[in-house]
């Protein structure tokens, strides 16, 4: 753990200084995870702040300091999930107002603004984002935590509080869907 159990206990008791220490210790790690979960660097800070606000209000529900990290990850996953749903709703309403031609033009202009490495990274993010459209938001997060973030099944079990076998089944199905979409996309020459 990045902070002593004593700091967590003090933060639970309402010590603002201890809560500050916790945020300072975990914010980089949480922001990195959120960045990979949502794939949009411009909104990472906003989602991370939401995670820590939720942490502040749910610290009294934390049973023991030992389970703090899975707890924090669960809050992170939930905040990322809420963000993805919000963005999906917003995009659906925006896209509904645009014709297909306008959407293509907007994509072209957006990609034209980037250059070099940034552009390539942006393309990778967009491509993976497009692949993730073939699975639900829940499965997207689970798959990202396992495949991109590199969490073990044991760690995922603690975060999701779900049986390891159930997680394996969900991961397998989600991966198969993404794989199918990946095959289709590469066959069409998108990558």
């Amino acid at each position: 753990m990045l902070v002593e159990q004593d700091v967590i206990e003090r933060a639970r008791a309402g010590d603002g200084g201890a809560f500050n220490d916790m945020v300072l210790a975990y914010r980089k790690r949480i922001m990195g995870t959120i960045s990979r979960l949502i794939g949009r660097p411009e909104d990472v800070e906003d989602v991370a702040q939401e995670v820590f606000v939720r942490l502040y209000y749910s610290l009294d529900q934390l049973r023991t300091p030992e389970v703090f990290e899975p707890w924090l990850y669960r809050l992170t996953v939930n905040a990322a999930y809420d963000y993805l749903r919000r963005v999906k709703r917003r995009n659906e309403s925006r896209m509904a107002d645009l014709s297909e031609q306008q959407v293509l033009m907007a994509d072209f202009l957006a990609s034209g603004r980037r250059d070099g490495d940034d552009r390539q990274k942006g393309q990778v993010r967009e491509f993976v984002d497009a692949l993730f459209q073939h699975v639900s938001d829940e499965d997207r997060l689970l798959l990202t935590l396992k495949e991109v973030e590199g969490l073990s099944l044991k760690e995922l079990e603690k975060i999701y509080r779900v049986n390891e076998n159930a997680l394996k089944v969900r991961l397998f199905r989600a991966r198969q869907r993404v794989l199918k979409a990946h095959k289709t996309a590469t066959a069409d020459g998108n990558l």
Binding site: M31, A48, L131, E147
Partner: protein
């Protein structure tokens, strides 16, 4: 290279493509601002919820109390009405009258008893 390993590579490329975002200077103050604003809302919400719960509890107690009280109509039936009161009065009068006759008879027969 099979599709599975290609996908794994893509995930690794995605990990590298997601930049490590540095927190801005406003990160902590913004968190505390959000906590404060939500705290105010939470305070009002808690107060409202507490008032509602108290009012509900009071109504429940009142309903329980009314439920265990005998119904009002039964009490009316049990209560003496005007005719009952008249009947009771009449019985009392006739009882007094009878008592008077009896006592008068006893008074008349008293000497005889004394004579024995």
């Amino acid at each position: 290279m099979n599709s599975d390993s290609k996908l794994d590579e893509l995930f690794q490329a995605y990990r590298a493509a997601c930049p490590e975002v540095e927190p801005s200077a406003n990160f902590m103050p913004e968190i505390w601002r959000r906590i404060e604003s939500r705290h105010t809302f939470w305070f009002v919400f808690q107060k409202l919820a507490r008032t509602t719960v108290t009012a509900c509890a009071a109504v429940c107690l009142l309903l329980v109390f009314l439920n265990f009280m005998p119904p009002f109509e039964n009490r009316l039936v049990q209560a003496p009405n005007y005719t009952d009161a008249l009947m009771a009065e009449h019985n009392a009068e006739s009882t007094d009258f009878t008592e008077n006759i009896r006592s008068a008879t006893n008074d008349e027969g008293a000497p005889a008893a004394n004579n024995r």
